[in-house]
Symmetry: C2
Subunit: 207 residues, 2 copies
Amino acid sequence: MSEIAVGRGGGLPGKDAPVGARDRLVAAAVESFASKGFHGTSTRDIAAAAGMSPAALYVHYKSKEELLYLISRRGHERTLRLVRDCAAASDDPVERLLAVVRAFTADHARDHTRARIVNYELSALDPEHLREIAGIRRAIQQEMRGLVEVGVEAGVFHTSHPRMTALALLSLGIDVARWYRDEGEWAPEDIAEHYCELALRIVGAPR
Amino acid sequence: MSEIAVGRGGGLPGKDAPVGARDRLVAAAVESFASKGFHGTSTRDIAAAAGMSPAALYVHYKSKEELLYLISRRGHERTLRLVRDCAAASDDPVERLLAVVRAFTADHARDHTRARIVNYELSALDPEHLREIAGIRRAIQQEMRGLVEVGVEAGVFHTSHPRMTALALLSLGIDVARWYRDEGEWAPEDIAEHYCELALRIVGAPR
DNA sequence: CTTGTCGCTAAGCGCTCGCTTAGCGTTTTC
DNA sequence: GAAAACGCTAAGCGAGCGCTTAGCGACAAG
């Protein structure tokens, strides 16, 4: 009685505190996969955390792996969109790099739970699903590489190995999801700001 | 007949291509834990890869978790030793940083299999074992932090936030274990050399 | 030659896993 | 208002899990 229907995928009421059963299952899976890993999580764990019986999971999803795949795909698509939007927000190489690094870093801290699944549970995906996700990852890397290369060509960045430098920038942001703790002394925005400074140094932009 | 006894812990003949049963089990566990994760690996997987029956594992180790613990502890101790040795090799802050970053990075590429277990399977450890390992990790971080702080105090490094900068340096090296592929175009030494350049920029050392 | 130890295996125990089936009450459809 | 569809649960299936037990052959000590 207390929960009014919001539609099945229901994201209207804010996307936190999921109300529909489908969303509650995803939220429970995200939490569990992130802290115990895909193989360390049972379907009973997920169903219980969503307040349902073990069989309920299979009313909405066809397997545990499908849940992982959906979480992973949405997470990757979200990151690709974030990187592309930030890169498109300016014409100046420095401004673009800063926008991307700032958003990428803050996102990996704020959403470290989802980011851990995205980056560390790839091997648990079906081969076919992994191939699709690998494509999105390649696109993300390509965006970052383009960002660095354009800056180098414009004479604003200076690095002897643009591809590896771009990889290092992504790497730095991804690893935030591994070490970030909510109880830590740094807010996601603090880390993002410091990482902007590091990014400028890494690409060899004049101060 | 072809295998002569080498002693139980046997490391004399080169430490690659383990000959004793104990070592073969560890080698098989390392390979499997790294590619499928601790929970994705069964004791039967490990025993089969070591060419033995499932029960043989328990002749030498008391549980699957003990294997993980031994691998993780040795890996962490090895890294701490590596960092300390490199840091002690010189008095000049720049030289010390370069030695540590070079060795740390190359090691995480060359030994990415073990490094993946060390950095990504912590949550599968028993709480007591995890506490012990967390202590070693803290010591490693402290070494890196000291390295940066000494450089800043000497006026050779320039960074607004030494602690986060030290964390970023470690982070960069650790994440190499995630993305490094043996088939890739860069050798561990190439990556290490480029990361030395990045490290100097990150700490704000004059070129 | 006997006895004890060591490294190992065949068999299997109890349990949990991912997932299925049968069925129930509520809501929607015509 | 009957029938179909929906969201969910209780029960359970077959398989694989971590780990144990009983015992075997090779070798060493006395």
